[in-house]
Symmetry: C2
Subunit: 319 residues, 2 copies
């Protein structure tokens, strides 16, 4: 038990309102009359969630994208955002950030509603926060709805951003497209909105497939069985990292994917594949939901022990 | 023009949605059907907005209070909050923060809805953010409604928190009650909710009466004339600082008051005083709204030049 886990548990004790979903979901879901509100807040810290050398415009994009990924996971339509910005005394950086923010707001049709700007003490790392607000058409998927017999699915490909980060750090050769996936994640907003009617549980994959799947398993009170041979890998990933079991395990434990993980009844498989085809977002069946608890891994039928680290546990705890 | 001012101006260019109120108000006001939503986000940084030695429970209280003060200024009823928390590796501090947060949430009837917890790099100052969401009964006062002929009012007393900070820093003798005002500000929620029907413009006083009044003057396109002899001072403030013109100017330029500044038509004066009496919150008429722009100061009729600093311009820009 880390002190971070303890802290989150203590916060959870304060979050009795049903809208908080026990701080166990991607977002808060609030019914005040009118449309259902979906609210999420994410922070990113220089040196932890982004690199000091990352282009400021990409940092802005990422801040928006990680928040919208939470809305996507709840099938919500983005409405607006509040920005918490820290000035570190570098005007050029700030200008480039605003330019990137403008692009992201425009691309996602997101209104900048307000926020706060603070000056940092000299030498302090930048710390940026965003609150995003969206509306949902009705029922809002939670992490807790997976049922034994359901299938487990994931959108897109896994591990690209993690490999991109390794490329940036110089521990992996090549991988320009992978770096792009790290710097410019694309939240699966349309997929999330369209999937709402087909799924039983949904969340975004931000800290790594395995750790996020373990959170869905815990929230739903089920066992998730994942066949690593079905983990979707991009061409670029295969080229740069490979596609053996080790490469698949790396992809399944890397963070920053911002794909959607969801469970759905077996009968909805055809509908999901048709949707994937219609909107041009790959959706791959990677496992099954069973009675029990936790995760079970195999590689095309051969049991695989759980790795020591299931993903990125430190530095970020979504609540 | 500071780089911070430039940055805010650049952000303003991105905030075209009417709900953003041009980033010139205390909060965003959003109509999505159902009740009117009021949203605000504030950040506080260790060493800038609170002292490293401040009790963590008081820091939690302050984070909640500064956000709720923005809701109070819009006459909104608090609904819930999202917390952005940074772990600096001191479990005891974190536990005390949670205890203080619990007290504040309970006292204000505020639901903790969600948020994000991040780990800081070693040595980085704590940086805490909160987004508060409230609902408003209907019309939401802005800073822009003051009309020539209106009177200018303020709740409570001014300068106490600023004097408390000086006491904490050892540059002012005595002042325990003043330190309490610095550490445990009380947002004027009931006053704000009840005043909505009586006022023409309203905002909270967070950076200092004069600088905040100058913002109201700019937003409303009027001149605000303030008689410093009418600035309400507490007994404790008079004892510790005095009540000559210098003391009044200090009170009018100190930050962290979290009182409400509002304009109202002359005919509503009796109603305002009756409300003040009913809810036990002092409300003092301190000046008048005139055609023109900016601020004009006097001391019981004797003109007073504007001081070089109208308040706390750096370290925080609300938008």
């Amino acid at each position: 038990v880390t002190s971070e886990t303890e802290f989150i548990a203590a916060l959870r004790g304060l979050a009795a309102d049903p809208a908080a979903r026990g701080l166990l979901d991607d977002a808060a879901v609030l019914e005040l009359g009118g449309p259902t509100l979906v609210l999420t807040h994410d922070m990113i810290v220089e040196g932890v969630h982004f690199l000091p050398g990352d282009p400021p415009g990409d940092v802005a994009w990422k801040l928006v994208a990680v928040n919208l990924s939470d809305l996507a996971a709840k099938g919500a339509r983005p409405v607006g955002a509040l920005l918490g910005y820290s000035l570190a005394g570098d005007d050029e950086w700030d200008r480039a950030f605003v330019a990137g923010l403008k692009t992201a707001l425009h691309d996602f049709g997101l209104a900048l509603l307000g926020g706060d700007t603070v000056a940092l003490p000299p030498g302090a790392p930048r710390m940026l926060g965003m609150t995003a607000l969206g509306t949902a058409p009705g029922a809002v998927p939670s992490r807790a709805g997976a049922l034994p017999g359901d299938h487990l699915w994931v959108t897109g490909t896994l591990g690209d951003a993690g490999a991109g980060l390794r490329a940036l750090r110089g521990t992996l050769a090549g991988g320009e497209a992978l770096v792009e996936r790290y710097r410019n994640p694309r939240p699966r907003l349309e997929a999330g909105q369209r999937l709402v009617w087909l799924i039983s549980a949904m969340m975004d994959v931000s800290d790594g497939l395995l750790i996020d799947a373990s959170r869905m398993a815990a929230a739903s009170g089920v066992l998730l069985s994942i066949d690593l041979s079905l983990a979707p890998l991009s061409e670029e990933y295969r080229r740069a990292v490979g596609d053996d079991l080790e490469a698949r395990l790396a992809a399944a434990t890397a963070g920053d994917d911002y794909e959607l993980l969801f469970s759905a009844s077996a009968g909805n498989g055809a509908g999901i594949l048709a949707l994937a085809d219609e909107i041009g977002v790959p959706m791959s069946r990677i496992g099954a939901v069973e009675a029990g608890e936790g995760l079970r891994l195999d590689d095309a039928g051969t049991p695989v022990p759980l790795p020591d680290s299931l993903g990125w546990e430190h530095g970020r705890s979504k609540s």
